[in-house]
Symmetry: C3
Subunit: 481 residues, 3 copies
């Protein structure tokens, strides 16, 4: 853990996500100056650029990225550099197809988008370390590089868990490390039930494609294992970044209300956490039918603020970023509305008020190609200012909100409870997040500020502890405070 | 067929399903006495206990089961012993993965729950006979053993049909036995349509993954074949039980409104039939939205009584068991409600009034592990009496309802009609059971007692014959009565 | 392109689809005379008869078809002969299973219905040319043969695209022909986005089973490729028919509102287009819940007339057929209603009024076997006249509607726009056809006659051009008219 975090802003700042490799240099070189004019301090780059950095195995092309880094430095912008591991190139996948993940239905998930890797694949992990070492070695000590983002949105597109040979083999090793003996595992899972007892480690598979529902203990351990694999993968990168990029912070951009790994462990090796806020994209997913229209163009305020509170609490101290703040329509929700007038400014102010250090918009300019062609940016496809950009230009937020806001109420939260609850909800439509939000929304409607903390956190300072859907209670958790 | 059924009760009795292998001996040994206190006569055991009986191939551990049998005998309880074939152990599956069933999407269905076998697998059948011989040899003549249950809930979890190599090969043999020549098969199926004519037996596959809908005659024969495979599998076990356990009855626990095999043929080799009654678990499956809430905590009375009438008619004479009577919340329905006060007593009385000999509750004590952790028992997890147990304790039913109830109306029923109707319902939401229940409910609302009988049964005694959705009508069925 | 089309009727005529191979000869021989009595001129035959024409590879049985042709000729009926390629026989599939298509989930789609072929399979294409040559050689110059239908309903049952090795390999070749270099392809698709750049042609797969949504340009080219494959397959047949059946027309029966290939290109090699009109079968697919009941027994008039207008415009001149006109209940819709009294006559008159040359009913007699057992015909299963047949018998339509109807308004339409729009609809439930129908229905409600034409057509004669959901606009399309 680093003791000093030199580049974290002492006052609230803005950022943006940009992709220099998407735009001809003559055109892109004007962007840093425009970003400065718009009041943007941080620019995140290189996020998915592996194929441009290493077009063929072992052949590196740094020219374009060197130029981009220098142009940003020349405009006094600060760079958030990324490990480009979320998009292993075609040459790597074709050479090692065993990197590809396998879904719960047993289908190999193919190249042709992003996140096409099983985190447990030894070959992928080797290449992840290799490309991280290369990029960290090149830019780790560049004065304009403020810090790093690892990979991108762990688990996005249902990739936290893979059910193929790589995960199967790693799961067995993980289980042996956890339980030591098959007797202990059989006892812990209750495998006497339905004669599920194992007599050899290699009889154990991931809990998919079983005839009836799998043993919930089997499922829970598989989720723990897959969550650990993400953290292990991340920690390998962070170890390299700490070594080759001293004095810079490292973060990761988590997602809204995401369920598939233990964010507390994944946050441990980071200096602070970030999350990606797309208020409009989740309206249809989380709200009942009659509420959807009402909040279609603003997002629901409680859904947004809950995630601020959740991620603020992840490391148990103030300070977090919104690494991607949606600033217009997205392209991936069932319906992709335009935000209401003022919504982008409102979301920014809401983040500020919840203790966020930096709000970084996604993305600078709308893409003219491929999957995100219909996703907005601060600039339109023709480089004119879009509605989100115009609101950002007019923003006036400075200083920092005070750190001594009193939050008298804490909601206890942990991912094991989520996994257990959602695996057997006992009532159609019941969900862990639904239970948590029920309490959160009532508290917010009473005007109460709320913290969200892990169930094992020190809770001594709170007047009221709310523990919705807490599933595991040992002596430690049950202790009086 | 046995001529005497020594152990069938002459008066109505109660039973319970219990799993001695799930509970430490020091704890479990107190159960038989508590069962006696609760008025429970029959205790079903060993249902899924293969891995405890035979932990490794050929190594048998009878100690725990011997102790359980003796403890029940000491408490004067009667034992319903099971063939544990519904849960082949991990060592068997890993050695012979070809036992595993394949679903209609072509996916191998894996170990990790129960019912993971293709009934047509020659290797599985060999092991089914082997374990049946072992358990029947050990307990077949024990004085406390009243009778046997074969396997568990044939076809549960969509396992009546498998689409892998074992079933494919067996299907071809079955077809050749049925039709003799490909010309006869092509003619019977109308394969001239769409050039579906076969010129070799090995051109015939199960009717899954076809481009458009498969030939309904192909489907019908595949369903008949799969149904026969279950009956063959069962008959092999029954033949062994008859030989090694003389004077004991054999039954099987069928399911509510189940569709996937011909229960009439499967009942032929049994002394009487049993069924598993979970009134709450099927409310959401069979009732329209507006009716669900009304019956959520009692179940719908007609859905329950229809199954009593159906299973009473399966062998054409009075006398049947409810082998598993739900006595609290289940864990497998979309929503798992608690029964209303008095519901467990009501269900028991309803079974009694419909001519049921024994109502056996599922399960004695709630499981503390694995898939059924959230399923109720007569005892709670902590061994206190749960609401169902309390109602059972208060029951006062004795004697038998008279056998000479007049049932002036008969509903004709057969599984081939069901398969044909549901394969091409001609109207969205139409179903065979829906058609049958329509008439059944009208008749019940008029206060009429109804029998349900096979379309080929002797119908001479009825005043009114109702034949909803009868699909096949030959000379025999069309004869005047 | 043929310059004279000798057999196209100068006055409106009726036809019917019949399957002599389904009915014993002694019974079928009476049909041509009954068809004449009903006023039916054209009889389509041999559509799915491959297994009867060639029961084993290279063994041909023409007897039954010769007899049918002579019987129709004797009754002065005109024959629409078909290439029977929509149903490759079992012996061919078993010998060459690589013909079978693969769905987007990676599952091989099996024999057992129809359309079980990947259009790009070189082996299937060879057999398609071979059987076309055989049947064209035998009947191509028979005086009773008026013309030909190729295959059946291209793309039906989701068969326009296959995702297996045959299509994968052909797609790579198609791409290399289109782009020349990988650099050009990477640039055109914007593969810099998410590091999707290819460095070898064999890194490119069909765009299925990707982790996140595939690149829409990748998808668009795959759709173009699959569409071309259908046209190539068709053109091979047409070339043979032109050579061996001089003076006869060739058509194909397209489907209602079908999406999966470019019908304009597929129409190029045809003399005129036909489509299959099932007004009742699409009510549940295209209409909102509250409209379904209203139109359940007549079909929606705009849905029908739009397809007349669409197919009339496909070759840019008047004259088209309805090759299959539903005349009773179908068997494949979610609910299969009987048509209202008069509906069959109404549909016939509607086709006539929209410039249709021939309405040919599907089918002559209801099938007594296999998949279409529950589909109506003009005759019932017992050969009595069904309700559709009775309406046809009473029809009095003669002459032709005038050709000089003024259609002041044109709706622009093309399949690339459809593919692009529907791949990323940006709003749940939005669809290309929905957009087009919105404008079409408003225009029709104003009493305006509408043409539907390709976006590149000569539009000089129209007063109003409506271009709903037009997605691609180059210089040529943007030119002033």
């Amino acid at each position: 853990m680093p003791t000093s975090l030199p580049s974290i802003p002492s006052t609230f700042a803005l950022g943006v996500c940009d992709y220099p490799e998407h735009v001809p240099w003559e055109q892109w070189r004007r962007y840093p100056e425009r970003q400065r004019e718009l009041g943007i301090t941080y620019v995140r780059i290189a996020e998915f650029a592996w194929s441009r950095i290493e077009p063929r195995e072992g052949e590196f092309d740094w020219t374009w990225l060197d130029e981009a880094v220098e142009a940003l430095a020349d405009a006094d912008r600060l760079i958030v550099m990324c490990t480009p591991t979320a998009t292993p190139p075609a040459w790597l996948i074709r050479k090692h197809p065993e990197i590809l993940p396998v879904d719960a239905q047993g289908r190999v998930r193919n190249f042709g988008s992003r996140k096409h890797y099983d985190h447990t694949s030894p070959i992928y992990r080797e290449h992840s370390r290799r490309i991280t070492t290369e990029i960290a070695g090149r830019y780790g000590q560049h004065p304009a590089v403020a810090g790093w983002q690892t990979d991108n949105e762990f688990g996005c597109h249902d990739t936290a868990r893979s059910y193929g040979p790589a995960s199967r083999d790693a799961f067995r090793i993980w289980l042996e490390a956890r339980y030591g003996t098959l007797e202990a595992l059989n006892e812990a899972w209750g495998n006497v039930f339905w004669s599920q007892e194992y007599t050899a480690w290699d009889q154990i598979d991931p809990p998919n494609l079983t005839v009836a529902q799998p043993n919930p203990s089997h499922v829970l351990d598989f989720y723990r294992f897959a969550s650990d694999a993400i953290a292990d993968f991340e920690e390998e990168q962070v170890e390299i970044l700490r070594r080759l990029s001293p004095g810079r912070w490292v973060t990761h951009n988590f997602m809204m209300h995401f369920r598939d790994f233990d964010h507390y462990r994944a946050a441990e090796c980071l200096d602070f956490v970030s999350w990606d806020s797309y208020p409009l994209g989740h309206v249809e997913r989380y709200l009942p039918e009659e509420e959807k229209v009402r909040w279609a163009r603003t997002g629901h305020p409680d859904l947004i603020s809950f995630n601020h509170d959740l991620y603020r609490g992840l490391k148990g101290r103030r300070g977090f970023w919104v690494m991607e703040q949606g600033a217009g329509q997205v392209n991936w929700a069932p319906s992709n509305c335009l935000p209401a007038t003022g919504a982008v400014a409102l979301w920014t102010a809401q983040a500020y008020a919840h203790g966020c250090d930096v709000v970084s918009y996604f993305r600078w300019r709308a893409a003219t190609v491929a999957q995100e062609l219909m996703h907005s940016g601060l600039l339109r496809h023709d480089e004119t200012l879009d509605r989100g950009g115009a609101e950002v230009a007019a923003l006036e937020l400075s200083g920092r909100p005070t750190d001594d806001v009193e939050t008298p109420v804490v909601i206890l939260h942990d991912y094991e409870s989520l996994w257990i609850y959602d695996e057997q909800p006992h009532s159609e439509g019941a969900s862990y997040w639904g239970q948590v939000m029920l309490f959160y929304q009532v508290l917010r409607s009473l005007g109460v500020d709320v913290d969200v903390r892990h169930a094992d956190a020190d809770l001594g300072s709170y007047s009221l502890i709310v523990a919705p859907a807490l599933q595991l209670m040992g002596d430690e958790r049950a202790r009086p405070i």
